[in-house]
């Protein structure tokens, strides 16, 4: 009965590869998010997606792209991986577009070699 799930939990890959991280929520929430937590534990929002509206943090490179096949899923695609992409990526969801509590997934630790 996991609320927000992510796969894979760990991802190790070579520089230059393209990879995806999947996120699913079974809470019936309307809004989903992706966050990046760097090696210093600093959490930064990357995207938020509410139905048809995608809000992108302007500092996120365009190699990163979210894809939402339906309301329950928001996958993260990363092209041409770089060493600096190594981090833990968290997916989250919230009921609506207002100031709601966000529920986080367990995180995906990405290591780029």
């Amino acid at each position: 009965d996991t609320a927000v799930s992510q796969t894979p939990k760990y991802l190790v890959t070579q520089m230059g590869n393209d990879k995806s991280i999947k996120c699913e929520q079974n809470l019936g929430h309307d809004t989903m998010y992706w966050y990046k937590q760097d090696s210093k534990k600093f959490l930064k929002i990357m995207f938020s997606y509410n139905n048809k509206e995608l809000i992108i943090n302007e500092t996120v490179p365009n190699r990163f792209s979210p894809k939402s096949p339906d309301k329950a899923h928001l996958n993260l695609h990363i092209n041409s991986l770089e060493l600096g992409d190594s981090a833990v990526y968290f997916c989250a969801s919230s009921p609506g577009a207002g100031p709601d509590t966000q529920y986080f997934g367990p995180g995906t630790r990405l290591t780029v070699l």
Binding site: L43, F90, S94, D100, G107
Partner: protein, 108 residues
Amino acid sequence: AQRVTQPEKLLSVFKGAPVELKCNYSYSGSPELFWYVQYSRQRLQLLLRHISRESIKGFTADLNKGETSFHLKKPFAQEEDSAMYYCALMTGANNLFFGTGTRLTVIP
């Protein structure tokens, strides 16, 4: 632009001692503030939000708009409180901006 500052990266207190984790924010709009906690090997989870004005696990936090602060307090720390604590500010776009986090260690 919005900003959340947690001045202490590391904080150690003895069990039973009071604890205060500092958080200051900068935001031109009306702030919605949260504290999130990440226990070892667990996912990030909400601890409390200022509009609820509730106490969770003995923790409280009061929004002080004059000092633009939202410090987290607990009168008597427990070992199980050891974790990473993040203060977060929600903007009108429903995006959470996190501080850099404070790692709290409660010494037995």
